[in-house]
């Protein structure tokens, strides 16, 4: 039985075992509807434009099954991601195999509220909110979006109230722990109130002895005048086939910045989508991917300029070694009425081996006429003249290479606003490049501080 047939069976079972009684009339209808759409389009193949360079053959080779029981181990593993954070000063929401297992909100309760879907599935689903995202982002371009809606059985909705600035980051950790191949889906929502400010860290951790296919969604709504930073950290997650869907809707005069960092991953597809539904808003999408061996990172971004006077700036940088592959696809859509749009996109890559491969593609769809858009993509090897110059100062080849690579991604690391997280990511990257203390002291002032 191939994966699609397996899913059809799963859904038939789900219906038989009381889809309606578990999820209620309305949500069952939505699930049936999206599954129909999935059945029509099927799983993506290389013929599918948005999946052209990302081979999903493993879906039929590994015996992935949906999780039916809740995760019940008493003492799940510690969250590694927390080593990045300042002791105690964070909110933590933790999911395990697609279900929420723990929550810890330290920000004042009048500012932050959390709803756990599973506690009352019939009541806790926000249809209006879901519809907003469905309209913008759930379509044939990403069949995993359909699967996510169809098969999610848990998730959370976190609300940051109006006029609230929360100092402590909201940490969302997707953990996996399974002895058999597992397919997990969770559907989550975050709402940032008017005039509010927050930062989110999304992390992934795998404790499984088996392969995991994780299809996680976070839908984020930013109400007017709000500010948000999102850091997606994908570090050291072998054995996960990850489809990470982050959809962001920005109302009027909002600001968002996201940093998507992928290091030591096996298979990652990031679908990062932003939709401007109000004027005078701004988003910055930064990313770093560092792939080696036979790893794959596929970053697909879509920025929808639906309203005038918005700005988007996108800057993704990649380092590729071994026979690793990376895909960058940056789509910018500018609607007919979205005049005075500014959209800039840049994707730069350094290849460290002749076997490594990058497929990079800007995709501009512009229907307005008063628009400033630019895009650029580069791929190349390290500059030989630079390497020789550094070597001539007594610095060995490996270190010379590391210095150059480090400088290549440094600008993007600096975009991480949370200092502890930024330093930890610096450290992680320096570690991968076998650079020690030199990384932290690049100016006289920084060096003076260490005296």
């Amino acid at each position: 039985m191939n994966f699609k047939e397996k899913l059809i069976n799963e859904f038939a079972n789900l219906k038989q075992n009381g889809l309606r009684s578990s999820f209620g009339e309305k949500l069952s209808f939505v699930k049936e509807h999206t599954f129909q759409k999935f059945q029509k389009i099927g799983l993506p193949t290389l013929k599918h434009e948005e999946w052209k360079y990302t081979n999903l053959n493993f879906l039929n080779q590994i015996d992935f099954n949906l999780q039916h029981k809740r995760y019940e181990k008493q003492n799940p593993h510690q969250v590694n991601l927390l080593k990045y954070l300042n002791g105690g000063h964070y909110n933590l929401i933790r999911l395990m195999n697609g279900s929420l297992i723990s929550q810890r909100i330290v920000s004042p309760s009048n500012g932050v509220g959390l709803i756990h879907f599973c506690e009352n599935p019939l009541e806790n689903f926000d249809f209006d909110l879901y519809s907003l995202f469905e309209k913008n982002f759930i379509n044939d371009a990403n069949p995993f979006g359909y699967l996510n809606t169809t098969f999610f059985s848990d998730g959370f909705k976190l609300v940051v109230g109006n006029n609230t600035e929360i100092e402590e980051p909201i940490v969302v950790v997707f953990s996996y722990d399974s002895e058999t191949p597992l397919f997990t889906n969770s559907l989550n929502f975050i709402e940032i109130g008017e005039n509010s400010r927050a930062s989110i860290i999304v992390g992934f951790e795998n404790f499984s002895t088996s392969e995991i296919l994780a299809n996680e969604t976070i839908n984020i709504l930013q109400k007017k005048h709000s500010q948000l930073e999102i850091n997606v950290i994908q570090n050291d997650i072998p054995k996960i086939y990850l489809i990470n869907n982050i959809n962001l809707i920005q109302h009027e005069a909002t600001y968002s910045k996201s940093n998507t960092i992928s290091l030591n991953t096996s298979f990652v597809r990031n679908n990062l989508n932003v939709s401007f539904d109000g004027e005078y808003s701004e988003t910055r999408l930064n990313g770093i991917y560092f792939v080696d061996n036979d790893e794959l990172v596929d970053d697909h971004t879509i920025i929808q300029h639906n309203k005038p006077n918005c700005l988007s700036k996108e800057n993704f940088r990649g380092i590729l070694d071994g026979c690793a592959r990376a895909v960058f696809n940056g789509k910018i859509y500018v609607a007919r009425n979205a005049q005075k749009t500014n959209a800039y996109q840049s994707n730069k890559n350094i290849l460290l081996s002749t076997e490594a491969k990058i497929n990079t593609k800007p995709q501009l769809e512009i229907y307005a006429d008063d628009v400033k858009c630019s895009h650029g993509a580069t791929a190349g090897y390290l500059d030989r003249e630079m390497l020789f110059y550094i070597a001539s100062r007594g610095i060995g080849k490996e270190k010379a290479k590391s210095l150059l690579l480090n400088s290549f991604v440094a600008e993007n690391i600096e975009q991480i606003g949370l200092p502890e997280l930024r330093d930890s990511i610096k450290e992680e990257i320096a570690k991968q490049l076998h650079l020690e203390d030199i990384f932290f002291c690049s100016t006289i002032d920084e060096m003076t501080k260490t005296v």
Partner: protein
């Protein structure tokens, strides 16, 4: 001990022979100048000594401190005490001068069996050496050569020379593109670094640098080899008579 001994060196690049039987010997503390017209192989010599890939040595030997330099990697040559001040210093975006120097100094120290410098000692050294060529500390925070003026780039090369404390410093056309004030600063920096242990090989097209850095020996290079050697007065003779004098002379020899 002889610092550098080059014997009958032949070098090709892309199948063209550039150095055609080059000989030179440099002893401790000596300052040698190599002059010659453009395209005669002066910069090739500098690059070959520093170990730049792409050059094919077809014949001859290079001994540096009694070691066979040809078999040694560029970084290893630098650690042994060979330094090249580039004619066209490379810009390295994202790597600060201070960072490059900290890494370099500690790599060289490691090779010499010394502990890495601690931040305090390193900063002291940095400021002292920067002072030598009149660079201030903001300059050290900037990325290596990025957006530097021609003069700044050359001063930076001499600053790096001072930091790395080499046994043999090769200056490849360090005077090119410098106005007279910058030239004096650079020459002054070099003169401060002269001592009985350190040797210099100064490659230049013009004699004017040699008014400020007085060489012990002057060699005239033509068509891939040295055709005439003498004392500092040879540079003046060459300046007065021009390279044509040499060409005619050389043709005569042939």
């Amino acid at each position: 001990m002889t610092i550098l001994r080059i014997n009958n060196l032949h070098v090709n690049i892309n199948g063209n022979e550039i150095l055609k039987g080059f000989n030179l010997e440099i002893n401790p503390g000596e300052v040698h100048a190599i002059m010659g017209p453009n395209g005669t192989g002066k910069s090739t010599l500098a690059y070959v000594l520093a170990g730049k890939p792409d050059y094919e040595i077809t014949k001859g030997e290079i001994g540096f401190l009694n070691k066979n330099l040809i078999e040694i990697e560029p970084e290893e040559r630098a650690r042994l005490g060979l330094f090249l001040a580039f004619q066209y210093p490379v810009e390295i975006p994202g790597v600060t001068n201070a960072n490059l120097m900290k890494t370099a100094v500690n790599e060289v120290r490691k090779h010499r069996g010394l502990e890495p410098l601690d931040a305090f000692d390193f900063l002291q050294m940095l400021k002292e050496k920067a002072n030598l060529v009149g660079l201030d500390s903001t300059f050290l925070n900037r990325n290596v050569n990025e957006g530097f003026s021609g003069g700044e780039k050359k001063r930076n090369e001499i600053f790096q020379l001072a930091m790395l404390d080499p046994t043999l410093a090769i200056l490849d056309e360090t005077d090119s593109g410098l106005d007279i004030d910058a030239l004096k600063v650079v020459a002054n920096g070099v003169n401060m670094l002269r001592n009985s242990e350190r040797s210099f090989l100064i490659i230049t097209h013009y004699q004017r640098l040699l008014n400020y850095i007085i060489p012990d020996f002057v060699h005239v290079m033509f068509d891939g080899k040295i055709v005439k050697s003498g004392g500092k007065e040879l540079a003046i003779e060459l300046e007065n008579k021009g390279y044509d004098w040499l060409r005619n002379n050389n043709n005569g020899v042939k």
